[in-house]
């Protein structure tokens, strides 16, 4: 793609200042989102995927949070350099948010119609009657049956899946170009999750929106992503088209994640635990759980993202030359010896 991306994140670092030290939740993350594509950020809890998405529109509490470095270019403008008013007008009108728990996102004492109208009226110059009409249209758009009669119902009169549809309607209220959805289906049953994923796919095709979709579920990623960003301990491990990530995963972490999904033969857990966020290890963040780690992985900085053929990049020294592959496991120790001997 040669056109300028809609969103471009460069070397973003979001840290939290806590009593236990500085939590480096996001520690140098870069990726692009083009118009009309769905980018999935996938990672385990604590990988920094949510903080990354919340840093885009500065939804993180500041303080203790702080964007210490890096920039977020939206349509060519750096959001991190904007005033608070500037960010606020972007939020909602250009970038919509959908959160995990629809229960918490809706106010129980107002009708859903009121809450959608509120979102419309705060960003658009329309009359109340027009806003009501728009609210009904939005509910129809997100697949609420008999929308004209449901618009005056209260959130408790909707099921979980229907509430999530209402939240999506609110996010769409101002015709955003980009939707950021943070685990929007995690709280839902599989059958309802499938419906909501269908809705996202449909919306994107109809409205040509860009979607950033955050999830820990690789099954969901395979369902809806065009491109994937795999995060681990505040860093991007691998990024690429969904075909590359699933059919040709490069990073040992991505491979391990794909192998530990229950329901397939040979369930392989990833040994060890996430590294400390206040005092991350030297070298690659994944090295102490990685079967392919050699001495070089344990020193210095996280390796840069090496470009691989096609739409694919990986942060692993085994791919330093832009091609290559992971070594055979039995060769790993010998590589250390060879390098040690050469010194």
């Amino acid at each position: 793609m040669t056109e300028q991306p809609l969103l471009s994140i460069r070397d973003l670092k979001t840290h939290f200042h806590t009593d236990d030290g500085v939590v480096k939740a996001v520690d140098g993350v870069s990726f692009d989102v083009h118009r009309g594509e769905t980018v999935c950020i996938v990672g385990e809890s604590g990988s920094g995927k949510s903080v990354t998405s919340e840093s885009i529109t500065q939804l993180i509490p500041m303080p203790p949070g702080e964007i210490v470095e890096g920039s977020v270019y939206y349509d060519g403008n750096d959001i991190t350099a904007m005033t608070e008013d500037g960010v606020r007008s972007l939020r909602g009108s250009q970038i919509g948010h959908v959160f995990q728990n629809p229960q918490g996102a809706l106010n129980p004492v107002y009708t859903v119609g009121y809450q959608i109208r509120e979102a419309i009226l705060s960003h658009r110059d329309v009359s109340k009657a027009e806003a009501r009409e728009l609210a009904v249209e939005l509910l129809e758009e997100v697949g609420i049956p008999e929308a004209p009669t449901r618009v005056d119902d209260y959130p408790h009169e909707f099921s979980g899946g229907m509430k999530q549809r209402v939240v999506i309607a609110i996010a769409l209220a101002c015709d955003p170009e980009m939707l950021i959805a943070d685990e929007p289906t995690t709280a839902l049953d599989v059958t309802i999750e499938a419906q909501i994923l269908d809705l996202f796919r449909h919306l994107q095709q109809e409205l040509d929106m860009s979607i950033i979709f955050i999830t820990h579920d690789l099954g969901v990623v395979a369902e809806i992503a065009d491109r994937v960003v795999v995060m681990y301990a505040g860093k991007v491990m691998e990024t690429g088209s969904v075909e590359k990530i699933f059919e040709n995963p490069a990073h040992p972490y991505t491979k391990a994640l794909l192998e530990c999904l229950p329901g397939q033969a040979g369930l392989e857990p990833i040994p060890g635990a996430l590294p400390s966020v206040t005092d991350p290890p030297n070298g690659c963040r994944f090295h102490d759980r990685c079967p392919y780690a050699i001495d070089m992985c344990r020193t210095g900085e996280q390796p840069p993202l090496h470009d691989l053929p096609g739409d694919h990049a990986v942060s692993c020294i085994h791919y330093e030359d832009g091609d290559g592959d992971l070594p055979e496991l039995e060769d790993v120790d010998r590589m250390d010896a060879a390098i040690g001997g050469a010194r």
Partner: protein, 443 residues
């Protein structure tokens, strides 16, 4: 595996929760959380219970452990009916049947060390020797992959996966013969889930444990269960051996559930059965087959020649009418959505053609119904609705849009060894109901 009597036999188990009103606690209805389920678990076997939230799987588990008293039915454990147990017998039973919970954070007292938490069951069951207790706890901690020194640490010092290991250790400390695991891995990250599942597998082999695993995650169930029961609205709709059930599901609900799992196979994108709607109110379950309100394969009457999808839409329509939802006020709002509510002046009747077209749009029937007779009934019903005559509309649909799925409870069909389902499509001689085929009463 023993060939004799199963370790656990659940027979027609029911657990209803009464809904009461007012000071006198007058019963106004019941939530039928578990409504007559039968299954068995053999020694050394893992039995999975799956279903959407609210289907009654957790209540079933709690009732089997007598954490809830059953409303009806029996649970035989090693030949004894546990529903008859008195307090002392129950205490003995609970020693043999243990539970692990979903959230490892809230299942430990934060002020008790791991050792204290794990020793507690031993003290309750009368093991007085402290050094022996400590020895047992240390030994078990090592077996679940932790260290003996962890005995003096507190829950907050452990990660979620480690806490779940401790939870497993606590459940196993009394050497039970059965373990009930309620969503044991759903609060954990995928990389950690695998560890706990492998550990469960390991212990099952080592101790000949019987496990009842409750989960909404079919991947997890497929991985470790020998047999699986699929629950919907308090009933078991299908029970079978895991591989058979996953590769050749007989019940449409099982098929939909399996199809809804997001798959990592990119070729599978959007080739799946979609369920419409959500689970109905368990206090007022649908007649006949409880799944008929969402079933993508609901059986049409044989005198109609309809696409399956069209019949599904007509059944959705019928249901809305039956719920007395499509009143003249509702239809008025649907016809004129822009009108201000306060100034609404709803007439006695609405133009029939417009109502028909709005309803066709709402139920996705714009491209026609296909069958002439079914279409006539739809139009006639719209006519009654437009005239505000809800009762006649309900009667007409009841006599014309008939399905065995709504009329009769599906019988249990034997699908071969260890496999049964409850669906009219599977039962022999389940000829679709031939509805009264007199001419449609049109105005």
């Amino acid at each position: 595996m023993s060939t004799g009597r199963p370790l656990l036999e659940v027979e027609n188990l029911k657990k209803h929760f009464p809904m009461t009103r007012g000071m006198m606690k007058e019963e106004i209805g019941r939530v039928r959380a578990v409504d007559g389920i039968d299954f068995t678990v053999h020694q050394g076997e893992t039995f999975g219970l799956v279903g959407e939230s609210g289907c009654g799987k957790s209540t079933a588990a709690r009732t089997i452990l007598r954490l809830e008293d059953p409303t009806a039915g029996s649970v035989y454990f090693d030949g004894d009916d546990i529903t008859e147990y008195d307090k002392a017998a129950l205490k003995r039973y609970r020693r043999n049947a243990q539970m692990i919970f979903q959230d490892p954070d809230s299942s430990f007292d934060p002020r008790m060390s791991v050792g204290e938490s794990l020793e507690e069951p031993l003290i309750v069951h009368g093991m007085g020797d402290r050094s022996l207790r400590r020895h047992l706890v240390k030994d078990l901690l090592e077996r679940v992959g932790l260290q003996a020194e962890d005995i003096n640490r507190y829950p907050h010092e452990f990660s979620g996966g480690q806490k779940q290991r401790i939870g497993l250790a606590r459940a196993l400390i009394l050497n039970p013969s059965m373990l009930v695991a309620d969503e044991p891995v759903s609060a954990l990250d995928v990389s950690v889930q695998a560890e706990i599942l492998n550990l469960l597998d390991e212990f099952q082999d080592a101790f000949g444990l019987s496990i009842i695993l409750i989960s909404h995650n079919l991947g997890v169930v497929r991985h470790i269960c020998d047999r699986v029961g699929v629950m919907y609205m308090g009933e078991l709709v299908e029970v079978g051996r895991t591989e058979e059930l996953f590769t050749d599901p007989k019940h449409p609900y099982t098929r939909s559930l399996i199809s809804a799992i997001p798959s990592t196979d990119l070729d599978d994108r959007s080739q799946r059965v979609r369920l419409s709607g959500s689970v109905p109110d368990p206090a007022d379950p649908p007649r006949g087959c409880r799944f008929h309100t969402r079933c993508p394969e609901v059986i049409p009457p044989d005198h109609y020649d309809l696409e399956q999808e069209t019949w599904r839409s007509l059944m959705d329509f019928k249901q809305r009418v039956e719920e007395r939802h499509l009143t003249i006020e509702q239809l008025y709002v649907m016809l004129y959505p822009d009108e201000d509510e306060e100034e609404m002046d709803v007439p006695e009747s609405l133009p029939q053609e417009e109502v028909t077209s709005v309803l066709s749009g709402e139920y996705g029937l714009e491209s026609g119904i296909g069958d002439r007779k079914a279409a006539e009934v739809f139009e006639a019903t719209s006519g009654h609705l437009a005239a505000g005559d809800l009762e006649t509309a309900i009667e007409l649909l009841e006599s014309e849009y008939r399905t065995v799925c709504q009329q009769e409870t599906p019988p249990v069909t034997d699908e071969g060894p260890d496999h049964r389902s409850a669906c009219h499509l599977r039962s022999e001689g389940a000829a679709p109901l031939s509805g009264e085929s007199e001419s449609v009463a049109t105005d």
